[in-house]
């Protein structure tokens, strides 16, 4: 399911809001989440999970092509911990529904 499919699914079930409202809102929601992490805040959604930043210490990496060493600065990476309800519901689908083959994708 992509973001535009998510917008379609929500809009189909909406009696109050127009498609345009749903579209703007869903795009805004992912942006609020990105902005929270960007400013060093956690995201806590009960029943879904929490997002936080994990620290990665500076290290010396290597260019795999040339073998040259490059120093890499410390950084933060996003981390997601699924909440109890999500964990349980997903696990209960194990053995019931197959994981659908995904289009080979690099997250955008």
């Amino acid at each position: 399911m992509t973001k535009s499919e998510l917008i379609d699914r929500i809009a189909d079930k909406q009696s109050q809001l127009s498609y345009r409202d749903v579209e703007l809102s869903v795009k805004a929601l992912t942006d609020y989440m990105a902005r929270a992490l960007e400013t060093g805040n956690r995201i806590e959604i009960r029943g879904f999970g929490s997002f936080s930043l994990h620290y990665r210490a500076p290290r010396v990496g290597r260019n795999p092509k040339t073998g040259e060493s490059v120093s890499l600065a410390a950084k933060y990476v996003p981390h997601f911990k699924p909440g109890k309800e999500l964990r349980e519901r997903v696990n209960s689908s194990f053995g019931q529904v197959p994981i659908q083959p995904q289009s080979p994708s690099q997250p955008e």
Binding site: A28, L37, E44, F80, E85, N91, P98
Partner: protein, 123 residues
């Protein structure tokens, strides 16, 4: 402060004037549709944010780290999140765990480098 569903609904109200009850419902729907997709075996891809993928894990012998007791871990399905390039780039340079004061100091000439507060002490 952590971002919550209530905060997200409030922002929708402020930014688009969507009434609070509807905004709250929409935020709820947003997460519920993602859960539903995952429960039905579908990967979820949110451009600009990241992908939620599913993985089936085989059973393996586990151990209670406190008691050392062996407990088998059952086969299970888990959700994994992979941040997209755009989100990774946005958070990468985040400068500190706490909102710290600007430190004009800076070792050497490259002042643009962000540093973790814990690694900030001088030897």
């Amino acid at each position: 402060m952590a971002l919550t569903k209530a905060d997200m609904a409030e922002k929708l109200f402020e930014e688009f004037g969507i009434n609070k009850r509807e905004a709250k419902e929409l935020v709820e729907q947003f997460f519920e549709e993602i859960r539903t997709a995952l429960v039905s075996g579908q990967q979820v891809k949110l451009s600009g944010f990241g992908n939620f993928d599913l993985r089936d894990k085989r059973a393996r012998p586990g151990r209670n780290p406190k008691t050392g007791e062996e407990i088998p871990i059952e086969a299970r399905r888990v959700v994994t999140f992979h941040a997209g390039q755009k989100l990774k780039a946005r958070v990468e340079t985040y400068g500190g765990e706490q909102p710290t004061q600007e430190q004009p100091a800076g070792s050497g000439s490259s002042a643009a480098q962000t540093q973790h507060p814990l690694s900030d002490d001088t030897e």
